[in-house]
Amino acid sequence: MGGAVLVGLLAAAPPLLHNQYFTGVFIVCAIEAIWAASWNFFSGLTGRENFGTALFIGGGAYTAAFFNSTFGLNAWWSIPGGIVVAVVLGLVVGFPTLRLKGPYFALATLASAAIMQQVAINLWQYTGGSEGIYGLDRLVDSSLGYYYFVLAVLLATVLVLSLIAHSRWGTILRAIKGDETACQAAGINVTVYKIASLALSAAFAGLGGVLFAHYQQAVTPDDFDVFLSISVIIMAYVGGIGSIWGAAVGGILLNLMLELLRGMGEYRLLVYYLILMVVLFFMRSGVVVPLWRRLSGGRSA
């Protein structure tokens, strides 16, 4: 199966390239893939686009920073800690905002992440302000080791979320996307499903945040930035909305692209955005999943 080949490639690449720097790139790619997959689980399935994933990412990251750097706990505690915090954030934001219609939900989530970013900057006595917090430990000391760890988490994420997406839960989420009112009329407690799904999505995003924090060994308010939220959305678009693994691959591709553009110096982000705009504009149903379908002879994924 194609998936196995892909995973094999991903696993083999860094040791083959034997380059510390590229291993680092791959680590970030894999983490972003986790974020993209988590986003797609909620927003791709329900059609309610979350513009504030960075809230959960930053939440996980800062929790890791507090646990590990500020309070000196063992780094592994960050994982459950970050997940719990992200889930709480998901519930807190989800409860009041999930009843809002499309664009309003998007904007409310956007605002939530932005508020958190401001809070992180303003409460500098606790959060280190714009500088952030540094001095986190690596979860796994060797870069290669860290990469394989993150890769394993990525695989677990895609597996778990895909299983749920194909289960009854996933069917209900798609029905919510199809017609929420009709879903209520079919006896489904739509609110509970939406909140639970957002919380699950938040959990994985937060987990990614923890992994990111321990890799960078620092957290900054940029971990709450709208750019991060938008990047995640675009990765999911590139992958194909509604496809968990597609989003993951999309995440990897976009980050590789961003890396390859490093040679362009200060034009890097500009070119990146222009490419993204083209993709957004012309490929509304994504790149990865349609391409995969074409290559595998039109069988449905």
Binding site: A111, I230, R284
Partner: protein
């Protein structure tokens, strides 16, 4: 005290200019234009560039900048937004991308340092024995005039009625032969012009750097949400509320927290009364 009163009014006026344009294009074309802040930034940078590099007289540069920004807005609507109009989220994404791209272009061309946009009025004005920044007073005056002009335009002219008609019922308006697409272009141009003008007039006393679109966007956005998307009077009212709130926070509490005022306002409104003060119901 007078200073706070006047400066609050200035902040409110600038916010109103930004918010009215944003709410106008939403009310008419249902476009949530996240590039609106970019228009503001472009207005300021255009003026700077024309005066500093090309030595164009200030008043000419100001007018040219507003015109250029208006054209840019219309071009964006025509080329990028209109084909995506079926999905409001696609529009959100693409306009956000435009905003980010403009920000990068400004960063690449002008660097990340703040720029000095020349002011029309460089001298202080004395009122009741208090010295006030002349440019700020001018900004207030210009904002009031422009918004007033827009209001009259919408209420008193045929074109204005057409705009109102479309915002209330786009389909019916089309049946009546009102050319929706042309109106969208026009309104986008007006919206961009207002934002650009805000940049031109406020540039001298507000910071001019590539990321200025973000703060402008967030604050304008909060005004529009609090006032109610699509309602011009709502925007003006909300601009006063938020403008004065920010001024109070800056003067009496902590200037660092002014950015949070708008964010909290957005969240409170969306949670308590999503339609805003004067908008339409938007619950799911």
């Amino acid at each position: 005290m007078l200073t706070v009163l006047i400066y609050g009014a200035v902040t409110s006026a600038i916010l109103a200019m930004l918010a009215v344009g944003f709410t106008l294009i939403f009310g008419v074309a249902r476009i949530l234009n996240l590039a609106h802040g970019a228009f503001y930034a472009l207005g300021a940078y255009c003026t700077y560039s024309l005066t500093a590099t090309y030595k164009v007289p200030l008043i000419v540069a100001a007018l040219a900048s507003v015109a250029l920004v208006a054209l840019f807005g219309m071009a964006m609507e025509r080329v990028l937004v209109r084909p995506q109009r079926q999905s409001s989220l696609a529009v959100l994404m693409i306009t956000l991308m435009v905003a980010l791209t403009v920000e990068q272009v400004l960063f690449v061309v002008f660097g990340s340092q703040s720029k000095n946009v020349p002011a029309f009025i460089n001298f202080p004005v004395y009122l009741h024995g208090v010295s006030l920044d002349g440019q700020r007073l001018l900004a207030l005056a210009v904002a009031v005039c422009l918004i007033g002009a827009l209001w009259l335009f919408i209420q008193r002219t045929r074109l204005g009625s057409a705009i109102l008609a479309i915002s209330q019922d786009p389909e019916a308006a089309q049946y009546m032969g009102i050319p929706a697409n042309r109106i969208f272009s026009l309104v986008m141009g007006l919206s961009a012009a207002l934002a650009g003008a805000a940049g031109v007039i406020a540039g001298p006393f507000l910071s001019v750097r590539p990321t200025m679109d973000q703060t402008a966007m967030i604050t304008a956005f909060s005004v529009v949400i609090v006032g109610g998307l699509g309602s011009i009077p709502g925007s003006i009212l909300a601009a006063l509320i938020i403008g004065y709130s920010e001024t109070f926070v800056a003067f009496y509490l902590n200037p660092e927290w002014t950015g949070t005022v708008s964010l909290v306002a957005i969240l409170l409104t969306l949670v308590l009364r999503p339609a805003g003060l004067m908008g339409r119901a938007v619950g799911a």
